[in-house]
Symmetry: C2
Subunit: 380 residues, 2 copies
């Protein structure tokens, strides 16, 4: 069974597409475009990285003397050299639309636009972009044609970008299965500081508190701690580069969080000093938790739909091959679509809890059906 | 199919057990004990709550004139009245072991021990405890016999607790399927501040930053933000009570996090002012992320075993009933045990990503097997 997210028939991009930088993103893009029947030219400062990407099928290494002019150039270099590569590409390929895929946009846009004065550079052909695709591994060896499938790809035109250039980048993004979203550069950088860089730092900060914690304390870790700290396992080198690249927006949102944190310390200190019934302790803490409730409710649901509260049905699952699959097969047999799933394990037990999110109307009937089928449905 | 976590044959608790407080924890405990064949006496200040718990099968409402003396009394009242209830129980039942199940231990222990001087109260029969069981709903109506299954239950003796009293509470905890862990009161309170209350507040603080965020920014939310903020949806009233009850340890660990946060702001500010290549920017940020790596690696794996790195196999799953179940069934058919599972959804696509954690040795063969079976295995 194959999920058909895109096929050659639906492709709008006219090749050749030149991809500069044969790392994870560049090579994955090459694979995806060639899978859709688009000609790909590869370039990389490292001959070895280039050969690897070619051998993996990500594109051709064109002969400079005998190469069709690219219609689009995608700069997929490390972010600190992206602006220079964009400027070079605009000069080298006067007929091409040029985009880059770096995760921070305003500094690159500024550098490109600054170079265009005095004026010999046609920056109307430049449109920045940012595919929000997985980055846990790096290098062409980890490349995959489906890297972009189902991910947002932010299209970031500047004030002088031509609309046909915007459309070309948007079409390319859609052709590799991603969901294009249009945004300004600062707006994009503020957005990723908030929805990507801040959670990364929060996870890092909580996990850092565990470094010197007693082992007995860690033995009490539950699913909450695991969820909050999961992304704290991210690559330090990659993340330090991302953070310095977007330093001002990240520092701003981190300062806002620190202000909220200071406001939490006040009622906690009051309560530590005067006891749990101290006036001005419980109220502010309840209000703080309620504000978090409102924030988390704003995160859009699956498929970009409006946030929707699902109901959870929780069942005990023995820790043996196939047990969870049997449970989910029976959920499917009941005609219920699983909206989300969390597995929860605890110390010392050979069973886990499967927390199944379903539409609220389906929860009651599903609980009954699972119990009828012999599953232990438990309080969440 | 039923997960046999415990059965009447293995029960060590001699009844009757008296449960004071017929809320979620008390009623669930009653259900679990009666399921194991132990006699349960229920008590609650509210006659209605009491009748509800009895009707649900959590225990009997004993006739004061004609009641066997309990061998164990479990105080499952709200935490702010737990110490008073423990003291009353020690007085009323001179032959019984008394425990409570409140989520904070040192203040209750102090209050009980303070009352024992001058001396007429036999506090050697008191052993505090804390079952780390789900608390997302409250009240007897949400009670379930499996609430404690697979969860740690912290046993918190004080210096004067008799060892046979400790053993009785430990046996009770094991009889309802939980995993007993022994700890001192302050040690317990510090531990839950770190592994439970701090992640709750971190999730709340990140989610609070979303309250006024532009909708376009929220549309870029990925799995990282969802994981970090999931528990920010918790009940404000419940959590404000938990936090004031453990205010000093929570404030202490929150201050430590704030110090780490301030250390992150320095290199970010330097980089915002002097650019991404500023000296002293990348290095400290990489070190901070690396410290988080070390912390998250200390969280014990499934079943309390040593932390173990699993490998992830990621496959595309169409959003239709039964698709995930088919995938997991085929994982089971390959003889591979699923260690953990995350579902990832993105805006605008009718497919999801299933990230399957397996033992490292199983990852390569599983990827090949799934591809052979027609699944799209993608880069994580």
């Amino acid at each position: 069974m194959t999920a058909a997210t895109h096929g050659p028939g639906a492709v709008g991009t006219r090749g050749p597409v030149k991809v500069i930088g044969a790392g994870l993103l560049g090579a994955s893009l090459g694979l995806a475009l060639r899978g859709a029947g688009v000609e790909v030219q590869l370039a990389d400062a490292s001959p070895q990285a280039l050969a690897l990407a070619r051998d993996l099928g990500a594109g051709d290494i064109p002969d400079p003397a005998d190469t069709a002019a690219p219609s689009i150039v995608v700069v997929a270099t490390p972010p600190d050299v992206a602006a220079v590569a964009v400027i070079e590409a605009l000069r080298a390929h006067p007929g091409a639309v040029v985009t880059d895929v770096a995760s921070v946009k305003a500094p690159i846009e500024e550098e490109v636009l600054a170079t265009s004065r005095p004026a010999e550079l046609d920056v109307s052909r430049y449109v920045g972009s940012h595919p929000m695709a997985g980055r846990e591994r790096s290098g062409a060896a980890a490349a995959h044609a489906d890297l972009f499938a189902g991910r947002p790809w932010v299209i970031v035109p500047h004030a002088g970008s031509a609309e046909d250039a915007v459309l070309a980048v948007r079409t390319l993004a859609a052709d590799v299965g991603s969901a294009p979203v249009r945004m300004g550069a600062s707006e994009h950088d503020d957005a990723v500081a908030l929805v990507s860089h801040l959670p990364q730092l929060a996870a890092t900060l909580v996990a850092t508190r565990l470094v010197d914690a007693p082992e007995e304390a860690l033995a009490l870790a539950g699913q909450g701690l695991r969820d909050v700290t999961r992304i704290a396992a991210s690559d330090p080198q990659l993340w330090s580069t991302i953070l310095v690249g977007n330093a001002a927006p990240v520092a701003a949102v981190l300062r806002q969080l620190r202000e909220d944190l200071d406001q939490l310390l006040e009622p906690l200190d009051r309560s530590a000093e005067h006891g749990p019934d101290a006036p001005g302790a419980t109220g502010p803490l309840a209000q703080a938790v309620a504000a978090g409730n409102r924030g988390v409710e704003r995160i859009p649901g699956k498929h970009g739909g409006a946030p929707r509260r699902y109901s959870e049905v929780t069942a005990l699952v023995p820790d043996e091959p196939g047990a969870l699959a049997r449970l989910l097969a029976e959920v499917g047999e009941e005609g219920v679509n699983l909206e989300d799933l969390h597995l929860e394990h605890s110390a010392g037990q050979r069973v886990g809890l499967a927390r199944i999110s379903v539409l609220p109307a389906a929860a009651g009937p599903l609980e009954k059906a699972l119990e009828r089928r012999g599953w232990q449905v438990v309080a969440p």
